[in-house]
Structures are given as structure tokens and as C-alpha cells.
């Protein structure tokens, strides 16, 4: 065994890494986002995507949706550490493969292409709720909503069809059915 020269112990085996969606309800006040994001960077947690906006103007509440990866222990820590922040009201934690939760991301895609190509593009996007936001005779801007990997696939496949710009949001989440998360 290699002789350790460290005053610290060596890292032990890592558990299985899962993707989770963490939903955080916070007071919409100055620097609240940096408190949440700083917690992740300071403790070495991962952020894959982030979506944040005010959802309740009256009570001044924002909803932050964070896609993260980690071992079950790390995910538990993320939730507990978030709950300790003063402006945080509640924290939801969902596994990405949870069937009871809907995850969606939105993307705006701009293509510079001729009408026949545009037809093919619209066809390819059909499954992802395409909305045409702007169209000229040589360009089109389409909004789609889908899962992250689906958008990944679409953008990859449509590169040859004149995709010149893609703007994407982080994932947002909502539980199915009449239940409300508390």
C-alpha cells in the first residue's frame, strides 16, 4: 500500500449516482439565488440546470428548480442544507425517473433555411409541441417543450437543416394528479 502522507483520510467508495430534481421555494429577495447557488458550489455539489422565477407576487415567492446529480447521501445533504437557509420555505426532491412528476424544458430554435427544409424541420419537431414564433421566407424561430435528452437529440439532428441558434431553459417540474407537494 502506498504510504499516505496526508493528515486527512483517503476518500472511501462512492455510492450510486442518481439525477434528482430539487425544487426550492424561496423569498424573492436580493442575493437569494447566490445563497442557493453558493451552497452548491461551496459544498461541491453539481448543478446540471437551473430555472428560477417569481411564482407568487403577493407573497413574494420564487420557485427554483435545480437538476443535480449525486449519491443518495449527497442528495439528502443538499435538501437538508437548503432547508437551513433563512429565505428558504420548502424544498422538494424528485428522482428524474419518478413517474409521478412531469419534467419539461423549453427551447427556442432559430433556423436559416429554405421553405422545403423548414417543412422537414417542423415535421421533425412535431412530437415536441412546436410553436412557430417567427417566420420569414428564409428563416424560422420555433419553440419546443420536451425533456432534456429529447431537445439534445433534436438539436443534434437538425444541425444540418440550418439550426443557427438554440436558447434553452433549465428543467421545470410539476407533480401529476390532484396532489400538492407540501
Amino acid at each position: 500500500m502506498v504510504k499516505s502522507k496526508s493528515a486527512y483520510s483517503t476518500s472511501s467508495k462512492l455510492g450510486k449516482i442518481d439525477t434528482h430534481i430539487i425544487v426550492v421555494w424561496v423569498d424573492n429577495e436580493a442575493s437569494v439565488l447566490s445563497r442557493v447557488v453558493g451552497l452548491f458550489s461551496g459544498r461541491g455539489y453539481n448543478i446540471e440546470s437551473l430555472a428560477v422565477a417569481e411564482v407568487d407576487q403577493k407573497n413574494n415567492l420564487s420557485r427554483i428548480t435545480i437538476v443535480t446529480t449525486g449519491t443518495p447521501q449527497v442528495i439528502e445533504q443538499i435538501v437538508l442544507q437548503l432547508k437551513k437557509l433563512v429565505p428558504v420555505h420548502k424544498v422538494g426532491n424528485f428522482k428524474r425517473d419518478d413517474k409521478n412528476v412531469i419534467f419539461k424544458e423549453m427551447a427556442l430554435l432559430k433556423f436559416v433555411a429554405n421553405p422545403s427544409k423548414i417543412k422537414k424541420i417542423l415535421n421533425a419537431c412535431k412530437k415536441y409541441n412546436p410553436v412557430i414564433l417567427d417566420q420569414t421566407n428564409k428563416s424560422i424561430v420555433i419553440q419546443i417543450t420536451a425533456l432534456r435528452r429529447e431537445i439534445d437529440k433534436v438539436t443534434k439532428n437538425l444541425k444540418p437543416f440550418g439550426l443557427v441558434s438554440a436558447s434553452r431553459t433549465g428543467a421545470v417540474a410539476m407533480t401529476r394528479g390532484a396532489e400538492i407537494f407540501n
Binding site: S4, K5, S9, S34, R35, K84
Partner: protein, 588 residues
């Protein structure tokens, strides 16, 4: 029309309503309005430090020895950045601090104005919460909330950044609300079922051990009393972390001594071999656990903590009880008594074999060292200090390093709040300002900073504060002319390459003491040690005690890195007996 107060007045009205008696600070441009207001509030005494880090540590010493929050007042820019070390220290060791910092006027924020820095940005990761006051009308609420956040749940530091124009602006003042809204951050979430489960585990255990930490101290002196009752009732052995020392009497027979990297052989082996481990207010720090995979492999683990994020952070436990130590112990004792009236006797029998094993470990006498009649051994110096001060109510602070561990090993604490040391952050230079804070809170008590000559030089300037306010703190320097712990690691792990760990060009500490207007005492020979210590204790002035000790002494026992608790490296006596020479060291 209610009366309007300036921001500076509101700050002091809040401090008065929060029953603050002392603040530690240093003036500067951006806090001058607050300093100007000081004269109108005679119940609040300001202690002028010599460096803002000193203000922070002094407030920590004050807080830890009284259980009340320490208050710090600093200016913007360098004032705020200098206090960051102390805030981080308080954050790691869960010490309640309220730091008020001045800030440049609101219209200049973001313009790189003179002495501007992003104080709330810099201190965000080292405070429980912080506030930048942008509207004078928010100030009373924020000030009261600051005290509430600092002192409730797991305590910690907070910071309120007040721009200079806000200190001048006027607003109405509100007293703190009696029934505080706690935002769900105070957690006494345990229920009787969990207590029953704990009692059940205690009943079944044949090799139990209590592992207690700073949470017991933070829960208040009553928690220590209740802990003593619980330990006496169960007859279980008890070990403590560095921060927990004093919660249980250090000279009691059921106490195994401190555990962890420099803990006793019996404490660490008990942790390793136990079948029930009850953690009360400790956090499975890496200096305690050693190698996690092999940490206490055969035990059921119970964790009692007020901070839910401490549970399962490092060690997965079988039973978690989230709550204040006082309340959890109270319920546990009550339930134990209700279920088994003859507990003391029945337990004594059930765990007698366990105690026999512990006695066997004790015979190793792992804290032993080879004493000398020619040179002062540092452990001997601490032992003598203990013997000569144990008859009075003594408060001990330390710096960080070998002397800190020797103090923890050889000074026996009998009461909580008597031991102030930087554990989590390990801040050299903590002890002197902390001692000043302790002495401010307890002017008649004996306060000793057990120090090293390297650490003390980091905040040496604060001796001037001690002289100014007639605070007779005793700086007991174990002077080995090395950064001793660094030297020890270099000896054991880096082939004796003592890279930059020798303290070249040390000052003459006796002359230095005289220059500061206090008393310097030097001890160089074991024969004169007692007499000199007596002289120190009887001097009613700050004293710098320069105790020349063996330069080559190492701190044992020790758990080498990456090793479990039952593979300790013992002191020189044992090493000789077992012929562990060059090869033994490669274990480290």
C-alpha cells in the same frame, strides 16, 4: 406621531433590548455614526481591540464562556475582511456572533468606493445568514432577526452590513416581538417513539458508549447536569470531543477522556469495539472518525443533534433524534426511570465485562510521557498548571497545535463553558483574543491561554487590549521554537524535512511583556516551574509566561491518517516496549 430615531440610535436600542453588555470593535469611516452614538448608551461597554480578527475571537470567547451571543462592530472594507477568519471560526464551531459592519453609502455601493468591499458576498459562506440594510425601515426588524438567527437552533455567526447613509437616516423603532416566528429553523422534532427506541437500544446493549460534543455545551449548563445524571443512571462509559470537554467531569471514573486523532487509547478502542454508540451533540468530524469505512464497525449508532443536516452527513446512523440536547436527555432519563426502576444495578452487571475490557485498555496509560528533570516537558507543564489552578474556577483558552492537544489531554475540566478552543477551523491566534473576551465576561476569574510561541505571534497585538482594560489574562506559552504540530507531521511523514517550521528570530517574550506594560515570566527548568506558575497566578496583571519546553516532544497517542480507531500510535514508552522503530512510523 411616533418618535423617529437615526440608524445609529436604532442599532443601540436593539442592542439594549437584546441585553447586550459588551461589544468588541474597531472604528473606521463607515461606522463613525454608530461610534458617535456610543456615548449615549452607558450600559453598553465597548472594548477596543487592535485588529478586527481579535474583535471576532474575543466575541467568540465571550459567547462561549457565557452562552450569550458575542457582538462585533467593525468598519467597511478591511474592517470587514479582517473579521472573516473569526466569522468562519465561529461558523465551524457553532458560536453565536452578531457582527455589525459599516458599509459605504448606498449610492456608492458598486462603484469601488474607498474602503468598499462586497461584505455580504464575502461573508455569505461563513455566516448562518447576513443582511445588507438598504432601507432604514428594515433596520429594527433585521437587527432583531440577526440575534434570533444567531442564537436559535444550531448557533452561529450572522452579519448585518449597514451603509453609512442608513446610519444617519431616521425611522421608527420596534421592540423585538415576544412570540418569535422561527421560520421553521428551530427543530425539536423528536417524538416519544424515538426516545422509546433509544431506551430499547440502551437496554439491549452490552458494550455501549456515549460520545458527546459541543452541542451539549451549546444547549446550556442544564444540559451538562442532565448528561451527568443520565451517565450515572446508565453506568455507560462516556467519551467527549474536543469541543465537548467540560460537559462531563474530566476526572470522573466513567469518563474515558477525549477521543479522536489525539484521544486516549481507551476512548478510541471503546468507539471501535462498542455495540451501541450514542452521539449527543457531536458531528462525526474527520479528526474524530479516522477512516470512515472502518469507523465503529460493530455498533448501532444513535445521533442526537439539533441540526438535521448533521444527521447522516458523514456516518449513516440507525436512529436519528433531531432536537435540543436538554429536551432529548430529559425525555430519555424520564423514560429510562419509568421503564426500569432498578436500572443502575442491572446495568452495572450487564456491562461489567465491557468495563473490564476498558480497564485493560486503560492500563496502557496512553497519555503517559517520559518526564525529565533537566528539561520541561510540555505535558508536564500543562499537568502542573492544572494541579495549581484546579482549586479555583479557571477558564482555559488555547491557540492551535500541539499545545492545544496537550491542554485537551492533560487539563481536566469539570464544568461546561470553561474551555474555549478553535476546533473546526483550527485558527492559530485564537486563544489570546478569546481569553480577553472571557476575561471581559468574568473579570474576577482566572483566565489562562495555553499557547504556542508561533500561534501567539499571530494576534500578539491584543495584549495591548488586555493592558488597556486591566484584563489580567495569563498567556502560558509552551515555547518549543517550532510550529510543533507541523514539525511533528514532518518528522513522522516527511522524512524529517523540517521545511519552514522552525521559529527563527523569536522575540524575547519577557521583554515584550514589559514593552506592552504587563508582566513577563520565564521558566526554563522543571525545578522552577511550580514557583513560577504560582507567581503567574498571583499577579493581578496580564502575564506572558514563556515556558521553555522540550523541542522534540511529539503529541501522542495519535491515530495515523487513514487508519481506524483501533490502530493507534502510542507514545515513546510503548513504542520502545513493542520495538516499533523505523517500520512503525511507516504506519503513519
Amino acid at each position: 406621531m411616533p418618535k423617529l430615531f437615526s440608524g445609529a440610535e436604532i442599532v443601540f436600542k436593539c442592542l439594549e433590548d437584546q441585553k447586550v453588555k459588551h461589544i468588541f470593535g474597531y472604528p473606521g469611516g463607515a461606522v463613525l455614526p454608530i461610534y458617535d452614538e456610543l456615548k449615549n448608551h452607558p450600559t453598553i461597554k465597548h472594548i477596543l481591540v487592535r485588529h478586527e480578527q481579535g474583535a471576532g475571537h474575543a466575541a467568540e470567547g465571550y459567547a462561549r464562556s457565557t452562552g450569550k451571543p458575542g457582538v462585533v462592530l467593525v468598519t467597511s472594507g478591511p474592517g470587514a475582511t479582517n473579521v472573516v477568519t473569526a466569522l468562519t471560526d465561529a461558523y465551524m464551531d457553532s458560536v453565536p456572533l452578531v457582527c455589525i459592519s459599516g458599509q459605504v453609502p448606498t449610492h456608492l455601493i458598486g462603484t469601488d468606493a474607498f474602503q468598499e468591499c462586497d461584505t455580504t458576498g464575502i461573508t455569505r459562506p461563513c455566516t448562518k445568514h447576513n443582511w445588507l440594510v438598504k432601507d432604514i425601515n428594515d433596520l429594527p426588524r433585521i437587527m432583531h432577526e440577526a440575534f434570533e438567527v444567531a442564537t436559535t437552533g444550531r448557533p452561529g455567526p450572522v452579519l448585518v452590513d449597514i451603509p453609512k447613509d442608513i446610519q444617519f437616516a431616521k425611522a421608527k423603532y420596534f421592540k423585538p416581538k415576544k412570540e418569535k416566528k422561527l421560520n421553521g429553523k428551530v427543530l425539536n422534532k423528536f417524538n416519544q417513539k424515538e426516545i422509546d427506541e433509544l431506551v430499547d437500544l440502551m437496554k439491549k446493549a452490552s458494550k455501549p458508549v456515549f460520545y458527546t460534543g459541543g452541542g451539549v455545551i451549546n444547549s446550556g449548563p442544564k444540559a451538562s447536569e442532565l448528561l451527568r445524571e443520565l451517565v450515572a443512571l446508565t453506568r455507560f462509559p462516556i467519551t467527549s470531543t474536543l469541543q465537548g470537554l467540560g460537559a462531563y467531569p474530566g476526572d470522573d471514573n466513567q469518563f474515558l477522556g477525549m477521543l479522536g486523532m489525539h484521544g486516549t487509547y481507551e476512548a478510541n478502542n471503546a468507539m471501535h469495539d462498542c455495540d451501541l454508540l450514542i452521539n449527543i451533540g457531536a458531528r462525526f468530524d474527520d479528526r474524530i472518525t479516522g477512516k470512515i469505512d472502518e469507523f465503529s464497525p460493530k455498533s448501532k449508532k444513535v445521533h442526537i443533534d439539533i441540526d438535521p443536516s448533521s444527521i447522516n452527513k458523514i456516518v449513516k446512523v440507525d436512529l436519528a433524534i433531531v432536537g435540543d440536547v436538554i429536551d432529548v436527555i430529559k425525555s430519555t432519563t424520564k423514560t429510562l426511570k419509568k421503564k426500569n426502576l432498578n436500572l443502575e444495578k442491572s446495568n452495572k452487571q450487564k456491562i461489567s465485562k465491557w468495563w473490564q475490557q476498558i480497564q485493560k485498555w486503560r492500563t496502557k496509560q496512553s497519555l503517559n510521557f517520559i518526564n525529565s528533570d533537566k528539561i520541561i516537558k510540555p505535558q508536564h507543564a500543562v499537568q502542573r498548571l492544572y494541579e495549581l489552578t484546579k482549586n479555583q474556577d479557571t477558564y482555559i483558552t488555547t491557540e492551535v497545535g500541539q499545545h492545544q492537544m496537550w491542554a485537551a489531554q492533560h487539563y481536566k475540566f469539570n464544568k461546561p463553558n470553561r474551555w474555549m478552543t478553535s476546533g473546526g477551523l483550527g485558527t492559530m491566534g485564537y486563544g489570546l483574543p478569546a481569553a480577553i473576551g472571557v476575561q471581559v465576561a468574568h473579570p474576577k476569574k482566572l483566565v489562562v491561554d495555553i499557547a504556542g510561541e508561533a500561534s501567539i505571534l499571530m494576534t500578539m497585538q491584543e495584549i495591548s487590549t488586555a493592558v488597556q482594560y486591566n484584563l489580567p489574562v495569563k498567556i502560558f506559552i509552551l515555547n518549543n521554537q517550532y510550529m510543533g504540530m507541523v514539525r511533528q507531521w514532518q518528522e513522522l511523514l516527511h522524512e524529517k524535512n523540517y521545511s519552514e517550521s522552525y521559529s527563527e528570530a523569536l522575540p524575547d517574550f519577557v521583554k515584550l511583556a514589559e514593552a506592552y506594560g504587563c508582566v513577563g515570566i520565564r521558566a526554563e527548568h522543571p525545578d522552577e516551574l511550580d514557583e513560577k506558575i504560582e507567581e503567574m497566578i498571583n499577579t493581578d496583571k496580564p502575564v506572558i509566561f514563556d515556558c521553555h519546553v522540550d523541542q522534540a516532544e511529539n503529541c501522542y497517542p495519535m491515530i495515523p491518517s487513514g487508519k481506524p480507531h483501533n490502530q493507534m500510535l502510542l507514545g515513546p514508552k510503548d513504542q520502545e516496549a513493542n520495538k516499533i522503530t523505523g517500520k512503525g512510523k511507516s504506519l503513519v
